[in-house]
């Protein structure tokens, strides 16, 4: 596979309730990513977006997001009803063809207008699970309980993950939840859905993220510090969560192996840890050494713009390499219930 590089990225802040419309807050994010890559808008050969109309409650809402791209004269574009990480994957595949050299990918979402605990069950089996109203917190609580019962994680370790993420997020101007929190104080809080407390859940966020990809020649020509995608893979597990062992993530494990995670030491990993216990599952699935720093940005527990939170892991991991001196980083995105579907990419500097 041809090496593809990340040559630019931009993220909006993560807002609890954005005052602007999705195209309005996408507008500067896309422009900034293009400026960051030091290219002209017309150099982009392919555009791919990730969003979910269920979040905003309007069919074809994704079409309006294109207004922030600049689609005249007509452009070549595509959309995935998924996190922008999967738009990035589609563009990575598209760039392999070699006839174009630059792609714009982005993810965006406004979670604030609707009720996520009612929207999410619609992705489940419509006969047995959707009518039960199995929301993400309930599903995550089942997974956390399975992990605790198996002795793979403790509630204290989960609180430690939260405290660490919120402390790290104090250095991230785009984060929504940050601060110095004492883990004993966190553990003293009541359960929301046992064994999860409110802080074990991600915030509800609106926001967007855009990334510019380029082929090797193009990246060398325009970018001082390209971030190379050395491997990328995504795998999906069976839809019915009752048929899975929730204490492991076999899809992450396979995707990580195919992406080449274990081929060399990893400096830092930006993982889609939306619920605190998931860090333990993902660390084990990827075989990360204990010294690997996870989510220096504060991760999804600090900023969770749905449909942009996965592609934000790519932006944050690339930022670690381009701006913070890391050499080899993991970007991970997740979709579905209880880590059902997972994407893993290995990013490297020169």
């Amino acid at each position: 596979m041809a090496d593809i590089a990340i040559i630019g990225y931009s993220q909006s802040p993560s807002w609890r309730e954005a005052e602007l419309t999705e195209p309005q807050f996408l507008f500067p994010v896309i422009s900034e990513a293009i400026d960051h890559a030091k290219i002209e808008r017309r150099e982009i050969g392919f555009t791919c977006a990730g969003s979910c109309d269920y979040l905003s409650g309007q069919t074809f809402a994704f079409v309006m997001n294109l207004e922030a791209v600049g689609a005249w004269p007509p452009i070549s574009e595509s959309h995935v009803e998924m996190d922008g990480a999967w738009a990035l994957y589609e563009a990575w595949v598209r760039l392999q063809a070699g006839d174009i050299d630059t792609a714009l990918v982005f993810g965006s979402g406004k979670s604030s207008p609707g009720n996520l605990s009612e929207i999410y069950p619609l992705q489940l089996d419509p006969y047995t699970l959707t009518p039960l109203g199995v929301d993400p917190a309930s599903m995550a609580a089942l997974q956390a309980r399975a992990l605790i019962d198996a002795g793979l994680v403790t509630e204290r370790e989960m609180a430690q993950v939260v405290a660490r993420n919120r402390r790290d997020a104090m250095n991230n101007p785009r984060a929504q939840v940050s601060g110095d929190f004492d883990e004993d104080a966190l553990l003293a809080e009541p359960y929301l859905t046992a064994p999860l407390r409110k802080h074990d859940l991600p915030p509800i966020s609106d926001g967007a993220c855009a990334v510019i990809l380029a082929t090797a020649d193009k990246a060398r020509a325009v970018c001082e510090r390209p971030v190379w995608i050395r491997g990328i893979d995504h795998r999906i597990e069976v839809h019915q969560p009752g048929m899975r062992d929730l204490t492991v993530s076999s899809s992450t494990q396979i995707a990580g192996k195919n992406a080449g995670v274990g081929n060399a030491p990893v400096d830092v990993a930006e993982l889609c840890v939306s619920f605190s216990h998931e860090e333990s599952v993902l660390r084990r699935a990827l075989g990360l050494a204990e010294n690997v720093k996870v989510n220096p940005s504060g991760g999804p527990l600090s900023a969770n713009p749905l449909m942009a939170v996965g592609i934000s892991r790519f932006a944050e991991a690339a930022r670690q390499i381009a701006e913070q001196g890391a050499h080899r980083a993991i970007a991970h995105a997740s979709s579905g219930q209880a880590l059902q579907q997972n994407m893993v990419a290995v990013l490297e500097g020169d």
Binding site: P23, G57, A68, G114, E118, I119, P126
Partner: protein
């Protein structure tokens, strides 16, 4: 969201062949500042648009940007628009009596290209004109809801083209039709 309760007349031992499942999702949208200015204008009897400083196209309701030139637009780009215009495009809807459908007779939804400085309002209702007489090029004027009865509750951030609650619909002015070659690049 709620699942329907089991019907007690159904034999609990019979195989399940059908399952009713009624659900609804509620969304509560905060009107963005640009659309807020537009709705405030409608309540005062004015149609406000944004004119792109580069290409001159007028957007109504304003969006806060010109998607053609990828330029942000602001209050400085606001223009007050005419409440008269030309039908450039229309659809006759023949209502199917699905659950919740209130209309029974065919009706037209038209795109109205407003007189200078321009702007296009789509999906507008035509009043006092039989459906079969709606045609491209006919001149219309807005019929405003009386000021005290105006409401903007139906207008959302993405309801482009909507003046619901403030403009009741559009009626023919009786002026001669405008030939299509004068607006054939402004159909939608």
């Amino acid at each position: 969201m709620s699942a329907s309760l089991p019907d007690e007349t159904i034999d609990p031992n019979a195989p399940v062949a059908n399952m009713d499942y009624f659900m609804a999702l509620e969304f509560k949208e905060t009107i963005c500042p640009v659309v807020q200015r537009y709705t405030d204008g409608l309540l005062a009897g004015k149609i406000i648009g944004h004119r792109c400083s580069q290409c001159g196209l007028v957007y109504v309701p304003p969006r806060g940007y010109c998607p053609i030139d990828v330029l942000e637009t602001t209050e400085e780009d606001e223009v007050e628009l005419a409440d008269r215009g030309i039908v450039t495009n229309y659809t006759v809807v023949t209502p199917v009596q699905y659950y919740g459908q209130e209309a029974t007779e065919p009706f037209a939804k038209v795109s109205v290209l407003l007189d200078e400085p321009g702007g296009m309002l789509s999906l507008q209702d035509v009043l006092e004109v039989p459906v079969e007489q709606v045609r491209i090029g006919m001149r219309l004027e807005a019929v405003w809801v009386p000021e005290s009865d105006r409401t903007v509750e139906e207008i959302g951030n993405r309801s482009w083209g909507s003046a619901d609650g403030c403009i009741l619909g559009w009626r023919a002015t009786g002026e001669p039709d405008v030939p299509p070659d004068q607006f054939n690049d402004r159909v939608f």
